[in-house]
């Protein structure tokens, strides 16, 4: 009786929450049913989880930069996805060059196989076959994207620093167009294979196949995340960033070198975006001019779900989005499988209903 009354109270106060809880319980129950009943093998389930983790880490990595620039410069940077793409193209161009320069002309290598360039199987880049060029590519991806973001800031955003967020947002859509189609101009518009899948060793862990590239991604992504964490935690930079996010005029009055902090923000955000783009290609094995743009909405969903301005929010949001979009495939079979992405968006909307500020919204960053 008591329980009943309490339940009724809860139903009245938080009807949405109850519905969600019930739905979640049903899903988990069904999941166990499937796992035990054999409708879903543990290996397949594990595969979904692992895939979700990998893509989630990448979304989170890219999301950190978006989140930082969002809160500090006060606008949603729709060009972020194209920073990611440039990271991928610049990094892989160099990785290709280094891996194949002894056998092929530099031109075709730099264009990652455009026109009549060498095919991926011939160049043979993979983490085990050409670890050096892969790592060099990563460094270039980070460096080049930092360069792109600083240059764009100097040319586009800085002259309109005082403008409102929407003006900047629209400008960033312009930047996005320019960056994206410059890739097409220099490289190509289709999707092209990059890595040499025949030389990527994979390991069977309890039926879940994990390949060396995925392991590389997880290692690098985690390392970068820890690095950012330490940087923001150990230096006063993190606080200065939040101060600027709060009130840029006051930050100026207080003596915070506003332009310097902005530059640092771009360096961090651009660098991580470049790394994420580079790593995305490592897991997909293919490269396309719009690969960042395709990810952008998911990244936004992750950042918003986590709470704008929060580094941890972006990471957690990324993982949730990644896992949700993969795990939902357990239920979304057949023609419904195209709903994996909507599920991720739907989840974000749900989170916002109960935490309008995002999961980590209002919680300090560093």
């Amino acid at each position: 009786m008591e329980l009943y009354a309490r339940g009724q109270q809860l139903l009245r106060d938080q009807p949405g929450l109850v519905v969600v809880a019930v739905a979640a319980m049903l899903l988990v129950g069904d999941l166990f049913g499937k796992l035990l009943g054999g409708g879903l093998t543990a290996a397949r389930f594990g595969g979904f989880v692992w895939d979700g983790l990998v893509i989630g880490l990448l979304i989170g990595l890219a999301g950190i930069g978006l989140s930082l620039t969002y809160s500090i410069l006060g606008f949603a940077n729709f060009a972020h996805g194209d920073y990611i793409s440039w990271g991928a193209f610049s990094g892989w161009a160099v990785a290709y060059l280094l891996a194949g320069i002894d056998r092929y002309a530099a031109g075709g290598l730099l264009l990652i196989g455009a026109g009549d360039g060498p095919a991926p199987g011939d160049v043979g880049v993979s983490i085990t076959n050409t670890p050096g060029s892969i790592l060099a590519g990563l460094v270039v991806a980070v460096g080049f994207t930092i360069g792109v973001s600083l240059l764009v800031d100097r040319l586009v955003y800085r002259p309109i620093r005082e403008a409102d967020g929407i003006t900047l947002l629209i400008a960033s859509i312009g930047v996005a167009f320019v960056l994206r189609y410059l890739i097409v101009f220099f490289f190509y518009s289709g999707r092209q294979g990059v890595t040499d899948i025949s030389r990527v060793p994979s390991y069977d862990i309890g039926g879940v196949v994990i390949n060396a590239h995925e392991l590389t991604i997880v290692a690098i992504a985690l390392a970068l995340m820890v690095g950012v964490h330490l940087l923001l935690q150990r230096s006063k930079l993190g606080k200065a960033m939040r101060a600027m996010a709060d009130n840029r005029d006051l930050a100026q009055v207080t003596g915070i070198p506003v332009e310097g902090v902005i530059r640092t923000t771009w360096i961090l955000g651009g660098g991580l975006a470049g790394a994420a783009g580079y790593l995305v290609v490592l897991t997909q094995g293919t490269i396309a001019y719009d690969l960042g743009w395709l990810l952008l909405l998911l990244i936004f969903a992750a950042v918003i779900m986590g709470g704008i301005g929060s580094v941890y929010g972006a990471i957690v949001g990324g993982l949730v989005i990644g896992l949700a979009s993969r795990l939902s495939l357990i239920w979304l079979t057949g023609d419904l499988s195209s709903f994996a992405e909507p599920v991720a968006f739907g989840l974000m909307i749900f989170v916002l209903l109960f935490r309008p500020e995002g999961i980590f919204g209002g919680v300090s960053t560093a």
């Binding site: 949603a76 009549d116 929407i166 400008a171 320019v178 490289f187 909405l297 918003i304 909507p342 309008p356």
Partner: protein, 428 residues
């Protein structure tokens, strides 16, 4: 507007169009100007007036036009529809868009502006992917009525553009006989200009009908803006807590506005992607469409209806239509045979003093890509130089009467201790 007509007549002339071609290009200018103006007006209501940062426009347009198509397509066709009259389809499309707007608004309006934006774009993507999914390609309603979205192939069998009924006995077939009006109009054009394709006249007529619709919507929104209702919207955009503390039920205002705007977006969808193009496909509603509309609003200057129409016109003509003709115009002027298929092959010969391969690469391979680069650069330029839109900073006062009038200058109260400046507002 006349400037755009002239511009495109010029384009037509460069491209050696005949009279029919010229009329057709004017019809296109009218059509795209009108549809963009329409959708931009709707967005201006959301964003310019009420500060609702809705970047799910494409989704609401899709709901409008899909609903119209599903209501009016014949039950026997593929995908099957309900076979209802066009008017029901149009109203139904607007209502459906408004309802989806309501469903979006109820939870989303609690969020801050940029979160609302992401929620709306997410919903728009959900809508598009739903229409795109083969799962609903055809389905059966509980009552046994078959209905379908056509999946990725969309719906193409809904009744055609209603203005065709003015000219043709059977509006669905151009081969059918003409009505008396049709005969008269076609005859008139034939007499004046020589032979003119009848399809061109139909399109031009449709463009004019749309212009009338734009005018009506403009009037409607001008009234909304210049009224106490619009004033509350403006206040909500500025500071919702204040509006609430002054006794305004801000949620009601927001929901009403959101629904009205969505209904207009649905209407724009019906008139543009529905009757304007004759078939509806999910891929027409990608987020890029929404961005285009935002760009148009920005060009005109958010918050101003006049600006919206202007912005729609500028975007439609200079950024959408003109770039479509540019490649051909360029190709007609220069023709370069060299056609290297990658960038290195294009720039390599420059060392040897040969510029032709690069030009050939640009013209023959990468012109479409450069068009987008151009749009992007232009956008950035606009934001840096005219962020308030082409009309500059315009503040349209939100009131049904001219507020400055009521002042009786007799009451000079202030001594020299007030009035530092004489209220020099920079509204031009």
């Amino acid at each position: 507007m006349a400037a755009f007509y002239l511009l495109f007549l010029g384009v037509g002339a460069i491209l050696n169009y005949d009279v029919a071609g010229l009329i057709s290009i004017l019809g296109q200018v009218t059509f795209f100007t009108a549809v963009y103006a329409l959708i931009v007006l709707a967005l201006n209501l959301h964003w310019g007036y009420a500060g609702l940062f809705n970047i799910g426009i494409a989704g609401f347009m899709a709901v409008g036009v899909y609903t119209m198509a599903m209501l009016t397509a014949p039950p026997t066709g593929s995908p099957p529809g309900l076979g209802l009259p066009i008017a029901v389809g149009i109203v139904g499309g607007m209502l459906a868009a408004a309802l989806v707007g309501l469903v979006t608004a109820l939870p989303a309006l609690r969020l801050r502006a940029d979160y609302l934006a992401i929620v709306t774009v997410a919903i728009s993507e959900i809508i598009r992917l739903t229409y795109n999914s083969p799962a609903f390609s055809t389905f059966t309603l509980p009552g046994g009525i078959a209905l379908g979205t056509g999946g990725a192939s969309g719906i193409g069998n809904f009744p055609s553009n209603p203005v065709r009924a003015i000219y043709y006995v059977d509006p669905s077939s151009a081969a059918s006989g003409t009505t008396p009006i049709g005969a008269a109009v076609f005859g008139f054009f034939e007499a004046v200009f020589g032979v003119v394709r009848s399809a061109v006249i139909v399109d031009l007529t449709y463009g004019l009908v749309l212009a009338v619709v734009v005018f009506l919507v403009y009037t409607l929104l001008a009234r909304v803006g210049n009224s106490p209702f619009g004033r509350v919207l403006k206040a909500i955009r500025e500071d919702e807590v204040v509006a609430k503390s002054l006794g305004k039920d801000t949620n009601r205002f927001k929901i009403k506005t959101f629904m009205l705007g969505c209904a207009l977006m649905g209407l724009a969808g019906v008139l543009w992607q529905g009757f304007g193009t004759g078939a509806v496909y999910p891929q027409a509603f990608r987020p890029e469409l929404t961005f285009y509309i935002f760009i148009a609003v920005i060009i005109g200057g958010a918050g101003s209806n006049t600006g919206s129409v202007l912005g729609g016109a500028v975007f439609a003509n200079l950024l959408f239509l003109l770039p479509q003709y540019l490649p051909t115009m360029i190709e007609q002027t220069f023709s370069i045979q060299a056609n290297p298929n990658n960038f290195i092959a294009a720039v390599g010969p420059i060392a040897a003093g040969e510029i032709a391969p690069l030009l050939g690469y640009i013209l023959n391979q990468r012109l479409p890509a450069l068009r987008f680069v151009f749009v992007g650069v232009l956008l950035v330029y606009l934001m840096q130089n005219r962020p308030e839109g082409l009309l500059g900073h315009r503040t349209e006062t939100a009131a049904a009467v001219d507020l400055s009038e009521g002042h009786t200058p007799g009451g000079q109260t202030g001594t020299d201790l007030t009035a530092p400046d004489e209220g020099g507002v920079d509204n031009e």
